[in-house]
């Protein structure tokens, strides 16, 4: 546990020095400005999409990019020479990735309340954010581990966005008919977006929520157990 705290402190220190946290904060400030300009109903409709963008989309991009930056700087080799368990290293990276999502969610939730008086079940949102961030961080890690170089990582990220994230956004904007939703449940992006919508619009839990939570947990567990944990060291040092 002590090692996870030290690793986490290091991750957060670096997210500040490498301007990841400040940029994330700036993005949240943009969301706040938008909330100031729109109505309460519009804020309730659009805010899940903002949280989805920070939790699902940014998790994948940031994890992949920071992993490649660490490989490029060679720091990952030095970290692997520390007397820590691989599980501790991965736990710190997952928590660090989720902490950025929390930061964004806290700002969005606060501004929704202060600007529009919108309240909802914060604990449920927190749970959904953790589940979605875990799944998407695992996806980001897996893509980074299988990418041959940074360009190939960008290609994989673009492919993921085109196949999974874009249809989700189209569905939210009613560009895809509701009858197609059943197919969208194959997309972890759709599951994350659905959970954010249910939490902010205070919808009661139904089979869609159960499926979205279960599917994302299965993705996170499966990728951690069968891809990230066994492949992390060998893929990192392959040169």
């Amino acid at each position: 546990m002590n090692n996870i705290v030290k690793l986490l402190k290091g991750e957060i220190q670096r997210s500040i020095k490498y301007l990841i946290l400040p940029v994330s904060l700036l993005t949240s400030v943009i969301w706040v400005v938008i909330f100031l300009l729109i109505s309460t109903d519009e804020a309730k409709t659009i805010s899940p999409l903002f949280i989805f963008a920070d939790v699902a989309v940014m998790s994948i991009i940031l994890v992949g990019a920071s992993y490649y930056l660490e490989r490029q700087e060679g720091t990952i080799n030095s970290v692997l020479m520390l007397p820590i368990r691989l599980s501790e290293l991965l736990a710190a990276k997952f928590i660090s990735s989720m902490s950025l999502a929390f930061e964004s969610v806290i700002i969005i939730a606060l501004s929704l309340y202060l600007i529009h008086g919108i309240t909802f079940n914060y604990f449920l949102l927190l749970f959904y954010v953790i589940v979605s961030a875990m799944a998407h961080t695992a996806l980001g890690f897996s893509l980074a581990l299988y990418a041959k170089d940074f360009n190939s990582l960008l290609g994989l990220l673009m492919t993921f966005m085109l196949v999974f994230t874009l249809p989700t956004i189209f569905y939210t904007l009613a560009l895809i008919p509701e009858s197609f939703e059943v197919f969208l449940f194959l997309s972890p992006s759709h599951c994350a977006n659905l959970l954010m919508n249910y939490a902010i619009q205070s919808k009661s839990i139904d089979w869609k929520v159960m499926l979205s939570v279960g599917y994302q947990l299965a993705i996170a567990w499966g990728l951690l157990k069968y891809v990230i944990y066994p492949k992390f060291k060998s893929n990192t040092v392959r040169g």
Binding site: G74, S78, L80, S234, V237, R238
Partner: protein, 287 residues
């Protein structure tokens, strides 16, 4: 002396590879010695080191660390070893000192960071971002990083590559001091100057196989010519004559030459580690 490492019939193939890159090598690294692992690029030196530092695991054969199976040792192994990588391994947006403090915080046995950075001439640059360090400064910081836990065994990969002669000598003296204090060093390099000055024993690795394991002296005796070359003046010309080293004191021609001619030079046929490297590895020198 106990073996720090006992390696038997070690083979390794990368998951995506079709053939073994390490092909059944065996060698021992004795405690307290500096073991030079030499070979041309792509010979398997780095892969062997990665296996020994547990960055790669799915090998065949056995690696024993002080008689314990390396596969059975957990992360506590890293409390005992220090690894100096050839490439920079530091966070560029952190200062040299911030980097060292971060890595040091994970070890139970902590070395004095100030003393180490002073020795390699980096203490006055401790608050400078590593991204602003020169290549030589990064190499020296790599060495400090390897020493942060007062290791029992040091793995050093091309440790003086990119250093000027003065700084290279400082690092070599520190390695020698480390050895004198009982430390074991596994040195991967192609810089024969380092090998001549530091190594107690060397092994040549070519295409994943080991070809020679001996002391530098044994290799020099084996590969050197047992002869003496004399250059001398005669009739305004400089001439050269080669004599067998065996029974040289009784060689009358040699004695006569010494007495009757003005000598220009005398050289023994002792070879250099560089020549031995080329002979063993079959490399071609392009001048």
């Amino acid at each position: 002396m106990q073996n720090a490492f006992t390696i038997e019939d070690l083979s390794y193939r990368y998951p995506s590879g079709e053939t073994d890159v390490i092909k059944g090598i065996s060698f021992n690294v004795k405690q307290g010695e500096i073991f030079g692992f030499l070979g041309p690029s792509g010979a398997g030196k780095s892969t062997t080191q990665k296996l020994m530092i547990k960055l790669l695991n799915d090998y065949r054969g056995s690696i024993k660390y002080f008689d314990n199976d390396l596969k059975a040792i957990n992360e506590s192994y890293y409390e005992e070893i220090g690894v100096g990588f050839e490439m920079p391994v530091h966070f560029g947006k952190l200062t040299g000192l911030e980097n060292m403090k971060y890595f040091s915080s994970f070890y139970k046995n902590k070395a004095d960071i100030k003393s180490l950075m002073e020795q390699v001439g980096l203490w006055e640059f401790r608050d400078v971002l590593v991204s602003q360090y020169s290549k030589g400064m990064k190499v020296r910081l790599n060495f400090v990083r390897a020493m942060l836990n007062n290791p029992r065994v040091l793995f050093l990969d091309e440790v003086t590559n990119g250093l000027d002669p003065k700084n290279a000598m400082i690092i070599k003296n520190m390695i020698y001091d480390f050895k004198k204090s009982g430390g074991t060093v596994f040195l991967t390099t192609h810089l024969m100057n380092d090998v001549e000055q530091l190594c107690d024993q060397v092994a040549f690795c070519v295409n994943g196989k080991l070809y020679e394991i001996a002391t530098p002296r044994e290799l020099k005796l084996k590969y050197g010519k047992k002869e003496v070359t004399v250059e001398y003046h005669e009739n305004d010309l400089i001439l050269k004559q080669i004599f067998e080293l065996k029974d040289l004191g009784f060689n009358e021609d040699f004695q006569t030459l010494l007495k009757s001619n003005k000598l220009e030079t005398i050289h023994s046929g002792e070879t250099t580690m560089e020549d031995i490297f080329i002979k063993v590895t079959g490399a071609i020198v392009h001048e």
